[in-house]
Amino acid sequence: MNNNLIQYIYGIADNSLILGQRLGELCGHGPSIETDIALTNISLDLLGQTRSYFQYVAKLQGNGANEDTVAFLRLEREYKNVLLVEQPNTDFGYSITRQFLFDVFHLALLEELQKSKDEMLAAIAKKSIKEVLYHTRFSSDWIKRLGDGTEESHNRIQTAINDLWIFTDELFHQTDADKAMIAEGIGVDVTLLKINYYKKVSSILEEATLQTPSIEYFQKGGKQGVHSEHMGFILTELQYMQRTYPNMTW
């Protein structure tokens, strides 16, 4: 069993799982039916991608593992998503900023991942790109609308960007498993995506009449399994049924 490969996939798939879960909280509570449907749709896409990744992990693990044991039955420290995606839905501004800051990264990652030597990962990336292109367009459009909308929306979205900015640097961190996979031509070297990421994000913020924050200190930990205090609560809901009724089929 290739543990590095599994850890590498967690680093990608857990982002989709946890962000999909966060977006799922909003279903039925959006600012309009249209945005409600769109956010639900993004959640669906992300969880669909998660299933593909975890079916692959389950195959690598063997021993009766399946996509649900992988998704639901790990300990908090074993989830490898970045801190950004577990941040709460404070308001629509925070939700859409979290989405935007992740989408721009996600798209760049998948564009590289489709060239992976691992055929399965390349195929999942290829299939997901179309969806993530839409996500990126959706969240970027909202950044522009809110930035250049009313004074209130401008201030609110700027606050969200300032608050969530500290979580962007972690997107470009590498774990040992990442490095091993890069060496094998399977993993993407995310450090190479960093400059373009900030360029793209800044240019959209500029178009949205928003300031790109300039801060020196960033947060990290998720990729090593050290999460924010939010994570335990996310997992409490995510794992509720599987933990309460173990070993059952649903």
Partner: protein, 318 residues
């Protein structure tokens, strides 16, 4: 227009409906027809949107990824139905904002069933099987209703609803083929949802006003009691396949009538919930009002942005 002229228009109008012609938005229609349709279509739209809440409650806790994705897709469909129906209501000369305001103020109603709490995962199965099942009984008949936009909306909605119903039934089938705890969860769920589902068809025919007019306009193609009977007849054999017991000691096949006989609905409970005092009436409306209020700055920003863009285009054109 003189009274005589209106009378003649009305006669032509009723004759068209009798010939099974569809009435389209820009055509002449009696004021009462317009108002009745706004009420019914918007009530239907509100039901879809409020109906997202009890199920939305289970998205984060769905027991498997496959179920989570299917539940999200189902609720997304319901949002789509809501949009579709609000648009159909708008063709009658009322805005979505006004309709939403009526929902929030309590002036407009939505299906009472959504005022019951969804407390276990089995409820996601039962809501699909019984609640969507009961809704379909009504909606299939409405595919032939006289108002064109509503009839067409029903065609599309019925397709998706019957998929939802099968999906709900399949959730329960899985539980019933599972462990004793799972089967118990399913039985408990049917115990709680059976009677409220029968209440979805509304008061007894004897207590239901306006039926005659609605039948004429094909807004009602079967009476409440007829639909309720058809639902019971259809559902009992399905419960038998699941191995679940319907919580009605009077339920029995009547060979003479070729229908199931069933017990009395608790009409006190029915009216309590309809009048706004069910277990979740307040919670549901509060959730809708909060989403709308919290979303105001977002909708305002989108409008302001769109206006700015339009002005830019105008300037460029000049």
């Amino acid at each position: 227009m003189s009274e005589k002229e209106v009378k003649s228009l009305e006669e032509i109008f009723e004759a068209r409906i009798a010939r099974d012609e569809k009435i389209e938005p820009k055509e002449w229609m009696p004021e009462k027809y317009r108002k009745t349709h706004i009420r019914q279509i918007s009530q239907h739209a509100h039901s879809e949107v409020v109906g997202m809440l009890p199920e939305g409650n289970w998205i984060t806790r769905a027991p498997s990824l496959r179920r989570k994705v299917a539940l999200l897709a189902k609720i997304q469909d319901e949002g789509g139905h809501g949009l579709y129906l609000y648009s159909a209501a708008e063709t009658l000369g009322i805005s979505r904002d006004e309709l939403i305001e009526q929902l929030h103020s309590g002036e407009a109603k939505y299906s009472s069933i959504f005022n019951y709490p969804a407390v276990t995962w089995a409820d996601m199965g039962t809501v699909g099987w019984l609640v969507d099942g009961a809704a379909i009984m009504n909606q299939v008949a409405l595919m032939g209703t006289s108002y064109g936009p509503y009839a067409r909306a029903m065609v599309r909605i019925c397709k998706e609803e019957s998929f939802h119903q099968r999906q709900g039934y399949e959730i329960l089938l899985t539980l019933c083929n599972g462990t004793p705890e799972q089967k118990e969860m399913a039985q408990d769920s049917i115990n709680r949802w059976w009677w409220p589902s029968l209440m979805m068809f509304g008061p007894r025919d004897a207590d239901s006003p306006n039926t005659e007019q609605s039948v004429k306009w094909k807004l009602k193609r079967k009476t409440n009691d007829e639909l309720r009977q058809a639902f019971v007849d259809q559902t009992v054999p399905q419960a038998n396949i699941l191995g679940l017991t319907i919580p009605d000691s009077k339920l029995k096949w009547n060979e003479e009538r070729k229908h199931y006989d069933f017990g009395d609905i608790d009409w006190n409970e029915f009216w309590q919930v309809v009048k706004g005092h069910g277990p979740c009436n307040k919670q549901r409306i509060d959730a809708r009002v909060k989403a709308h209020k919290d979303g105001k700055w977002v909708r305002d920003a989108a409008m302001a942005f769109a206006e700015k863009q339009e002005n830019k285009e105008v300037k460029l054109a000049i």
